[in-house]
Amino acid sequence: MVPLNYFLILAAILFCLGVIGFVMKRNLITMFMSIELMLNSVNLTFVAFSRHINVLSGQIFVFFVMVIAAAEAAVGLAIIVAFYRNRESLNVDEVDRMKL
């Protein structure tokens, strides 16, 4: 039996890797992938808790998170495509017309 904390720590590590990727990567698509990584670790947390406390609703929540991840992916990638059509680039540093 693996203790609950192991799963939680694993999820936290994955989550923070996602944060690191989001804050550091320059490519829009990899930034977006980092968000998917974060959502996944949230899901892992839910499932681990659900298993530990023996309440199923956590898994339902995960199901909805996946739905939302899919929706976000569709819209997000569309936005990125539109951006690419305008700029011919995927470099996030070029998203800086508006500042101050």
């Binding site: 989001f22 804050v23 996030v92 540093d93 500042k99 101050l100």
Partner: protein, 688 residues
């Protein structure tokens, strides 16, 4: 007809006038605009007269009339120091002796100024100018706000008027919007006022918190039961008093928020007369008097009021000594006179503050309107250095302005004498009075007499320094401008007779008795008893002394500025300390002559000379003081006020650097900042 039931008409009528002129004014002829503007104000004045007359027929204790029109802000219950209070604010008016005086002054003087404006602003009328209807629309809006302010029966509604007059003041100062300085001045006035308003708001919340109501009647009744706080300590009443007074300093141009008023002179002159002399700026005095119960229970707050008032009085007067713009002299004079009123309130003599408010409304409105008439005659010239010898060219203006000047200088029997003298007497003798407060008042009185007669001499006497171009256009103003001046002149002469000190013909205290129901409560009665035993002789002596002081000021102005042979040397103003040192030495010798060498001279002569010597010493001192205050004021204006407006700009500039670092436009810097925020949040929640 029961006028009292119709007091809601008093503010409403000007609003109606404002509405018609504002919406349809573009298509109206001048006569129609005049009809709505003047008609509504006149009706409002007549309603006020009727209502006050009716009020005066009641027993003194019954002279409170509350009229709640509708429930404005209901907000259920709130926990206060008085338990759960039902927080409900009425849109309601209150007519009592205090608001009676105010509405008469506001509508009366307001109406005269409206009449005057029809002449003064006449050239604004025209299809392409269109300023005329706008002007009257704003002016009527102002009347509405001001009347709401003074008639309100609770703090929240008073605040509506309070902000409303600030807004109108902004609109009217910036009336000549094509002048950049006018726009800036309007903005400055509005912003400085807002600082004070924040204090008012806070005071208001604190009042609700403490007394569980915002209604004047309830609050005052509950405050009267509160124990009197110890002088020097800051209790909740003191805090309320000081916060409200902060609001008053903004509105009534006291230190440190006074600087917007001189700049406000960018507005048309009738506006300066109505808003920046007679009515709006006195709102602070009215408010302090209205909350007199709270102040009487908070001696520390009273001392703050008195000191700020006194210091402002002397400070502004000293700046007024050297101003060259005719309206600016009057503006500083207004600041100084308002300081007087606060001084009176601060020593517990609220009725005297209101008394001076009233007489000041007469003579200062007159001075501004007279100045307007002079400016009108000189085709817009405002610089004292380019005036002179106008006495015979615009004699009616001259006579009326002279009356007002004598009044403000405190020469009997003009109105200003009675009110100013009463203030000085109260500052000296009242329970809260101090000898040094009196001294400040006396010095300020000296300066007042000096700069006012300086203004008179420079404007009307000596040879003409007027631009030859302008010279042959000089004409007396039309009768619709002169008649208001004459009416105000009469009021400036007789306005003081409602309250005559005891030593003159046995005295008459009609004004005091009229206001007594408003200011009478256990705490003030104790104070009044203390004053009773002060001697009549001392009062007469002090009065005599203050008249002598005023005469001295006039004499000095005469010595400096009445020079038939040569124009006043402008360089003298800057070389004044040197000049006065010399001047002083010369007279000191004479005093020594009088007192020690030539003992044969009679006592009166000696005293006369002594007085002169002392006064000259004062002149020397005031020369230094003037330079000092002028420097301070200049510094203040440059660093703090343009600051206060520009401090914002400066802060903004300083803040723009970190902001530029934060708001980089890069998504990932934003994300990084968010991560920092998240770390901080978790830390605050979990680890702290």
């Amino acid at each position: 007809m029961n006028f009292l039931k119709y007091i809601w008409l008093i503010p409403l009528l000007p609003l109606v006038g404002c509405f018609f002129n504002g919406v349809f004014g573009k298509r109206f002829s001048k006569v129609t605009i005049d009809f709505f503007a003047l008609g509504s104000t006149l009706l409002s004045f007549l309603c006020s007269v009727g209502a006050v007359w009716q009020l005066s027929r009641l027993q003194p204790e019954e002279r409170v009339f509350n009229l709640n029109l509708f429930e404005w802000i209901p907000a259920g219950v709130a926990l206060t120091a008085h338990g759960f209070a039902n927080f409900s604010i009425q849109w309601g008016y209150r007519l009592d002796p205090l608001s009676a005086v105010m509405i008469l002054v506001v509508t009366g003087v307001g109406f005269l100024i409206h009449v005057y404006s029809t002449g003064y602003m006449a050239h604004e009328h025209g299809p392409h100018l269109g300023g005329y209807y706008r002007f009257f629309s704003y002016l009527n809006l102002f009347m509405f706000s001001m009347l709401t302010l003074v008639l309100a029966n609770n703090f929240a509604l008073m605040f509506v008027g309070w902000e409303g007059v600030g807004l109108c003041s902004y609109l009217l100062i910036g009336f000549y919007f094509h002048k950049k300085s006018a726009g800036d001045a309007g903005k400055k006035a509005f912003i400085v006022n807002r600082i004070g308003d924040a204090g008012f708001m806070l005071g208001m919340f604190l009042i609700f918190q403490t007394f569980g109501s915002l209604d004047f009647g309830t609050v005052m009744a509950r405050a009267a039961e509160a124990p009197i706080e110890v002088y020097g300590s800051v209790g909740v009443l003191t805090a309320i008093g000081i916060l409200l007074f902060l609001g008053a300093t903004g509105k009534s141009a006291q230190l440190p928020l006074y600087t917007w008023l001189p700049d406000a002179m960018e507005g048309p002159t009738p506006v300066s007369a109505l808003i920046h002399a007679a009515t709006m700026v006195t709102a602070g005095v009215y408010m302090v008097s209205r909350t007199s119960v709270i102040y009487t229970h908070a001696p520390t707050a009273m001392m703050v009021v008195a000191v700020v008032g006194g210091v402002t009085a002397i400070f502004a007067a000293s700046i007024g000594l050297v101003q060259n713009d005719i309206k600016r002299v009057l503006a500083y004079s207004t600041v100084s006179q308002l300081g007087y009123m606060f001084l009176a309130c601060g020593v517990g003599a609220y009725f005297v503050g209101i008394f001076h408010l009233m007489t000041h409304a007469f003579f200062k409105a007159l001075l501004f309107l007279g100045a307007g008439s002079v400016i009108h005659a000189l085709s817009g010239e405002q610089d004292l250095r380019r005036m002179g010898a106008l006495k015979n060219k615009i004699p009616k203006t001259y006579v009326t302005m002279l009356a007002a000047t004598l009044a403000i200088s405190g020469i009997p029997p003009f109105a200003g004498f009675f009110s100013k003298d009463e203030i000085l007497w109260q500052a000296f003798s009242s329970e809260y009075g101090r000898w040094w407060l009196w001294l400040i008042g006396v010095v300020a009185a000296l300066m007042t007499a000096f700069y006012m007669f300086r203004l008179i001499f420079l404007t009307f006497y000596n040879e003409s320094r007027v631009d030859p171009e302008v010279e042959h256009h000089i004409h007396e103003s039309p009768s619709n401008m002169i008649v208001p001046l004459q009416i105000l002149a009469v009021l400036s002469v007789i306005g003081g007779f409602v309250q005559i000190p005891k030593f003159l013909f046995g005295g008459f205290d009609g004004f005091e008795r009229w206001l007594e129901p408003v200011f009478k409560h256990p705490a003030t009665e104790a104070g009044a008893a203390a004053v009773e035993h002060a001697s009549l002789g001392a009062e007469a002596g002090l009065a005599l002394f203050s008249v002598v002081v005023a005469l001295t000021g006039i004499y000095l102005a005469y010595r400096f500025y009445y020079r038939p042979s040569s124009a006043p040397d402008r360089a003298m103003a800057s070389a004044k300390p040197v000049y006065t040192v010399l001047f002083n030495k010369y007279y000191m010798d004479k005093i020594y002559d009088a007192l020690f060498v030539n003992r044969t001279k009679d006592l009166g002569n000696a005293l006369w000379a002594f007085d002169r010597g002392v006064i000259d010493g004062g002149v020397n001192g005031s020369g230094w003081f003037t330079r000092f205050t002028a420097n301070v004021s200049c510094w203040w204006d440059k660093w703090i006020v343009d600051g206060l407006v520009n401090v914002v700009g400066f802060t903004v500039k300083m803040l723009s650097y970190p902001l530029r670092i934060l708001q980089t436009g890069f998504v990932q810097s934003y994300a990084f900042l968010m991560v920092l925020g998240i770390i901080a949040f978790i830390w605050l929640y979990v680890l702290r």
